[in-house]
Amino acid sequence: MNDMSALYSMTSGTGSPLGELDIARIRADVPILRQQVHGKPLIYLDNAASVQKPKAVIDAVSECYTGYYSNIHRGVHLLSERSTAAYEGARGKVRAFLNAASAREIIFTRNTTESINLVASSFGGSRVHAGDEVLITGMEHHSNIVPWQLLCERTGAKLKVVPFTDAGELILEEYERLLDSGPVRLVAFVHLSNALGTLNPAKQMIDLAHARGIPVLVDGAQSVPHLAVDVRELDCEFYAFSAHKIYGPSGVGVLYGKQALLEAMPPYQGGGDMISLVTFEKTEYAELPNKFEAGTPNIAGVIGLGAALDWLNAIGLDRVAAHEHALLEYATARLDEIPGLKIMGAARDKAALAAFTLEGVHPHDIGTILDREGIAVRAGHHCAQPVMQRYGVPATARASFAVYNTRDEVDALVAALWKVKEMFDL
């Protein structure tokens, strides 16, 4: 992949901001962007839902299937050895990406949702009991709410929720108060909110929990594509994300967990690949990470995730973050020009997306009209209904950015929103 980093640094040099030429090259890497919808060039601003894939990722998946695909960990033949090496190679790339201490701490799942369910079921099921508490925040995605509700129903534990301000920032005094007010067995919070764009103070929140001996799970579904994450610096017990939001294939998720904890936890699912010895009397489980990867995984998908991380590393996450930050600032200023438009979420630390309402027009209608202009945004509750309830709106429209988005696309979004107002006589 060294040739690729050379490519992106040609115009500006590694570490310097991504220039227009760099973005043009990056866009050229993502084949799906080269198309028209309803006769207009596609402007894809639904990246928080799922990100489009670079050719390098599509090729990696296709090369696996055309060149060396086989099941892993169980064949002595060449293809199985090659597939196993590529699959485990991708695990090594994820380890390096998160700066985890060991590749054994990287578990492949189907998505963020399954990663969280794994922890709720295995860790929660063995460590959370009646009368205990699990602490989440008011800005969680449903996938970081419902698994804990199910756990609480099963065990008789209680779910507590950290509130946030009108600006969309967690109230840390309340967080501390809740940490002290009951037997909290686990804290689970979103790193970057998909509904508000709020970047939560993860390190501080983890330290506050650790000061009380409480382990922490971080939902990193939205954060990993936008900022460099170092799980050893954060020191969280668990970190979850999905490949499909970080330029990789759908159907693959990651759970990082501290080795000692993972070793002490019971398996999540039983089956092949996760055992070392099975008799009808007793089964011995495999070592990490296999203990948590029952059955044949998404082999080509995991390999595709490895290629996605290579692609992103070649550009450099710092430069990605800087580009997206500038884009968000520009978009925020331009959107604020539109009378009746209200951006939901004004946290000081914010990234990658602007969720908004437009007085007199339902977000669903905004979405339909923008679509006819070639612009893909998300309209709805973004799987965060409690956030919508907090602000008293049924839904919002959301423009969310990836590294391939440009200022021109923001301008097109703003122009289309003026058309929405015109259409509705506003």
Binding site: G360, V361, H362, P363, H364, D365, T368, I369, R372, A379, G380, H381, Q385, M388, P394, A395, K419, M423, F424, D425
Partner: protein
């Protein structure tokens, strides 16, 4: 934007801004809630039925222009109709918003929603209120979802 005007016709924008029969019937004979899980929109419909005829019908709730206008137009179309006609009218309306079918008599201005047929993701918005009416007539207690 011409094709969008086929969807967002004046009548629809008007009913969205000033929905008719947008109120609560205090003691309805029939009532139900509809939910569109895709967008979280909720609507409540109230009916007052006497001798098999819909004497009064009203709705409340927040939704997009398509679902609000459709609910508003539906209340106008159903008021005074025999309950026995509801299924037939719903089938007819469903045909209008999903196929090239002509709008039959009895649906009144609901034909302005024909543009929805070019926007498959919006069909659920247009039919939400109808699903709720059916649920009310069947005396279902839980909110009906469009999917």
């Amino acid at each position: 934007m011409n094709d969008l005007r086929d969807l967002y016709q004046e009548v629809i924008l008007d009913h969205n801004k000033r929905p008719r029969n947008f109120r609560i019937i205090p003691q309805p004979t029939h009532q139900a809630n509809g939910l569109n899980p895709l967008c979280g929109d909720r609507i409540s419909v109230y009916l007052d039925i006497e001798d098999g005829v819909i004497q009064d019908i009203a709705f409340q709730g927040a939704g997009c222009a398509i679902s609000s206008a459709s609910a508003s137009l539906m209340t106008e179309a159903l008021k005074g109709k025999p309950v026995a006609d509801v299924d037939y009218l719903f089938e007819a309306f469903h045909g209008v918003v999903t196929t090239e079918r002509e709008c039959p008599n009895g649906l009144g201005k609901l034909s302005v929603l024909a543009g929805v047929r070019d926007y498959p993701s919006r069909v659920k918005c247009a039919t939400l209120a109808w699903h709720a009416v059916r649920a009310a007539l069947e005396e279902r207690k839980e909110a009906v979802a469009t999917e």
